[in-house]
């Protein structure tokens, strides 16, 4: 027994050390930092105080940024579901070689550096970008339309990056589906729309829900895209924390923002997961 215990410890130790070293320790330090005080002349003051949190909760400036982060993340999630779920369904019904080509196009965004991809969007979304020019050429707009530094622009760019995660999650759920089930529904008199709504969609639901968790948490914590498209004018929680750290140099306040963002994401992921598990436990767990 004790020999087994020793072996177990020996095997688990490297991973544990790595985890403690690179994840737990910085996280703990950030948390401690968020309870420290700060002023412009003395810098970080090592005391324990809730001042930073009080400031964030009292100031509507912060509330606005957190609400914006939530709003953007929810929109990105909803749009990713609307785009990604049908996309996965269509992809699954395609045949090679088109299927492989289309999968590559879908996964493509993940292969390009996030900065390069986002700067590409900046070119498209700007006042003299392609979208603006196209709208003017079509007579839909009288002047240049810029989506830069708008929530719409950030949402578009984020959806582009995050939709592959939704497609992959839904794809995985659909792969578990027996293809004969759709034919069974058809033989019982169901048309294509009914089959999708009553047979395919419910079975894709676990994939959609887990994809939503991934997309939501990635959207809420995204940095590069909101930083480039949203810039200084349109801050979200992650760019706010960055600015507090590097511009204002108020590390404790930035740490508090980061902690709140983390807690918010973890809470929503856990809550969502509980909901999903309760709803689908008897149907999909074996």
């Amino acid at each position: 027994m004790s020999a087994l215990r020793k072996e177990t410890f020996a095997l688990v130790a490297p991973t544990t050390l790595l985890f403690v070293g690179v994840v737990a320790t910085p996280l703990l330090m950030t948390m401690l930092l968020s309870f420290n005080d700060w002023n412009a002349t003395k810098g970080i003051i090592s005391v324990l105080t809730l001042k930073n949190y009080a400031e964030i909760f009292a100031d509507s400036y912060f509330a606005e940024i957190f609400l914006r982060t939530l709003r953007i993340s929810l929109w990105v999630t909803v749009i990713s579901v609307l785009v990604g779920a049908p996309e996965a369904y269509i992809l699954r019904r395609m045949r090679d070689p088109w299927r492989s080509i289309c999968i590559l196009i879908v996964i493509g965004p993940l292969l390009v550096s996030v900065v390069a991809r986002t700067l590409g969007w900046a070119l498209l979304l700007g006042g003299n970008g392609l979208i603006s020019q196209a709208l003017q050429a079509l007579g839909l707009s009288s002047g240049p339309v810029s989506l830069m530094f708008t929530e719409t622009g950030v949402i578009i760019a984020l959806v582009h990056v995050l939709v592959p995660f939704m497609v992959l999650a839904v794809w995985a759920a659909l792969s578990r589906m027996d293809p004969a089930v759709e034919r069974a529904a058809q033989s019982l008199g169901a048309g294509p729309v009914t089959i999708f709504r009553r047979v395919v969609l419910p079975q894709a639901m676990p994939g959609i829900l887990s994809g939503s968790i991934i997309v939501f948490s990635l959207a809420a914590s995204a940095f590069a895209t909101p930083a480039v498209i949203g810039g200084r004018r349109l801050k979200v929680a992650s760019t706010l924390a960055y600015d507090e750290f590097l511009n204002t140099l108020n590390w404790p306040l930035g740490a508090a923002v980061a902690m709140l963002l983390l807690v918010g994401i973890v809470a929503s992921v856990f809550g969502w997961n509980r909901l999903v598990e309760r709803r689908y436990a008897q149907v999909f767990s074996s």
Binding site: A180, V181, R183, A184, A185, S187, A190, Q282
Partner: protein, 344 residues
Amino acid sequence: MADLVLQGLCKKYGDVTALDRLDLTVRPGEFVSLLGPSGCGKTTTLQMIAGFIEPTAGTIMLGDQDLVRLTPDKRGLGIVFQSYALFPHMTVRQNVAFGLEMRRTPAAEIETRVKDVLAMVGLADKGERYPRQMSGGQQQRVALARALVIRPAILLLDEPLSNLDAKMREDMQVELRQIQQTLGTTTILVTHDQHEALALSDRIVVMSAGKVEQIGAPFEVYERPATPFVAAFLGKTNQFTGVGTGRELRVAGDAVLPSGTVGTVVLSVRPEKLQLLGPDQPGLRGRVSLRVFQGNHWLFHVATDAGQAVVIRQNDGRPVPDEGSAIRLGMKAEDVQVRLASAA
């Protein structure tokens, strides 16, 4: 109720012919099995009747209705899939009710019909279960109930029992036959299991490599196989090469049957039709190389100069030859199929 008539039904994939000119008329209430090894075209045929595969040529008529022109959802056929294909996110009751909802049957009628059909397949108290929570046999019954509740013109069964264990399969065979007899639903079964086809069908269509080998009642197909393929595929068969002298047939030098045939012949005899005779009686000489007791019958392997023979003898309580003993194999003219070997 109308006849289902398949005429000149063909399916080609490029140069590969999956089904070659099938003609078949299925009468109302009849239970017909398509039997053959995998790749013989039986499943292709079923899929074409169901509407999931389009025929390359030929017609499928149900009475005066041309089924080929209808999509699967308009054909009104009940299908039981090999994998059962139940809706995993619906309860048993919801699964069975699905087809009726598609037909816009009034809710009250749906309720009674679902209840009746679940009672018929013995799942009256399992309506609120999900498929995952049921055994293979129970899922099979749900699939059957779901197909039958819409009162289909034809019931199509695609290897419905192949995923069940042997005991369960036998029980389901009996039950399936009883349900089919009670409802009088025209039924087409696809199977590679000869016992299933023999036990369930009114008629069997034996298929091989896209072609029909024989169509007939189970007893007829078993007793009088039309081709060597049917003889070999349905049940076990002993084949001996022999010579016809004009007066008798000789196998490995031993006279076995009187016959006027001249030339090299192939004799086919079922294992249960071979007689085990004493060493001094007329027949094919052999030695018992293996004897297995299987309760209601004995199984013998007999080594002869014409190759190994399999013999089955009912256990009637009397003594049987021991392993290693010399015997003779006797056969009766009416039990033996004799073909001239010239064709081979």
